[in-house]
């Protein structure tokens, strides 16, 4: 159903390392710790989104990140002269998409909870329908999910589910890759540690990635 993560790992590392290099170059100007942390997180999120390609949530995420003024320097550094094209490709929302306000859901929720409260106050026998309560819970939690998934507010039902699935997979991959990069730095900092063969194999792979100058090969492929 979805693209395999093998390709995405390579793309992610390239992007992320590029972003790290750019964040590092910021150190020449006085930069706060907060800003450096933000630029690393930004590189990571962008790397994850670009590695995935164009989906609903990646477009929403990239547009959101690109819309913030403090991020433009970073984005332009990463994308180079393709900044304009890429921001257009990843524009969000598309003209025909409108943000749903979900009025129906809110109205029925208010109506139901009001009715339930009135019943409780009257002290009459508890005729709260469990299905209504369950439905409210589902609606509330769906709203929360919509806020968590980039672009979620435009989606409903099965689209929301499939985007959520895709997003969770990408998030997991992002975490795993950042962890392995961090572990690599741990190994490097303790130079007395005996390196096992798998570590140097991974190192060679990373070296190949780092030396490749073709930063946006992955865009031609996607």
């Amino acid at each position: 159903m979805h693209a395999t993560k093998e390709f995405n790992k390579k793309g992610f590392f390239k992007q992320f390392l590029l972003g790290l290099r750019i964040s590092k170059s910021f150190t020449t100007n006085p930069i706060s710790i907060e800003q450096r942390k933000n630029s690393i997180k930004l590189s990571s999120d962008l790397a994850m989104a670009f590695a995935r390609g164009r989906t609903h949530w990646t477009r929403a995420l990239i547009s959101k990140l690109g819309g913030k003024e403090e991020n433009t320097t970073m984005l332009k550094g990463i994308m180079g002269r393709r900044y304009g094209i890429l921001m257009a490709i990843y524009s969000y929302p598309l003209p025909h998409q409108k943000v749903q306000r979900g009025k129906k859901i809110v109205r029925s929720y208010r109506f139901c909870s009001g009715a339930n409260k009135r019943r409780a106050l009257k002290g009459s026998c508890n005729r709260v329908s469990p299905s209504i309560v369950a439905r409210n819970l589902v609606n509330r939690r769906t709203k929360v999910l919509k806020r968590l998934v980039p672009g979620g507010e435009l989606l409903n039902g099965s689209s929301l589910l499939s985007e959520t699935l895709d997003y969770v997979i990408s998030l997991k991959a992002q975490v795993d890759m950042m962890k392995s990069l961090w572990k690599a730095t741990q190994i490097s900092s303790s130079r007395n540690v005996e390196l096992d063969p798998s570590a140097s194999c991974q190192g060679r792979k990373l070296l190949m990635l780092a030396n490749s100058k073709d930063e946006f090969q992955l865009f031609k492929k996607s």
Binding site: L17, L20, R21, S23, K24, S25, I33, R36, K37, I40, K41, S44, D45, T55, H56, H96, Q97, A134, L137, V138, R141, T142, V144, L145, L148, V149, L154, G157, S158, S159, L161, S162, T164, L165, Y167, V168, I169, L171, K172, Q174, V175, M178, K179, L181, W182, A184, T185, I187, S188, S189, R191, L195, A199, S200, Q202, G203, R204, L206, L207, A210
Partner: protein
């Protein structure tokens, strides 16, 4: 992706839900199919939040490491020391 309406089968929805369940850490422990919509949503939301926190935490740790690194090219430093 166009947002044109297309009928999605129950089968596809079931597949999505079961895939999501296999991803969530909770369901792996319990094993049995305890899917109720609200439970699934709740676990998904909390899982996404915990992943966000992990990313933020790892970003902090990586930025600390980067501070102690010399030179302009952090990845070359890492890899060089890996290979040595």
């Amino acid at each position: 992706m166009s947002s044109q309406r297309r009928t999605i089968t129950d089968e596809e929805i079931r597949e999505l839900i079961s895939k999501l369940q296999t991803l969530l850490p909770e369901s792996r422990r319990r094993g049995a199919n305890r899917a109720s919509a609200s439970k699934l949503l709740k676990e998904t939301c909390s899982y996404i939040r915990s992943l966000h926190r992990e990313v933020a935490d790892l970003s902090d740790r990586l930025s600390d490491i980067m501070e102690t690194m010399e030179g302009d090219n952090p990845q070359v430093e890492i890899i060089r020391s890996l290979l040595n």
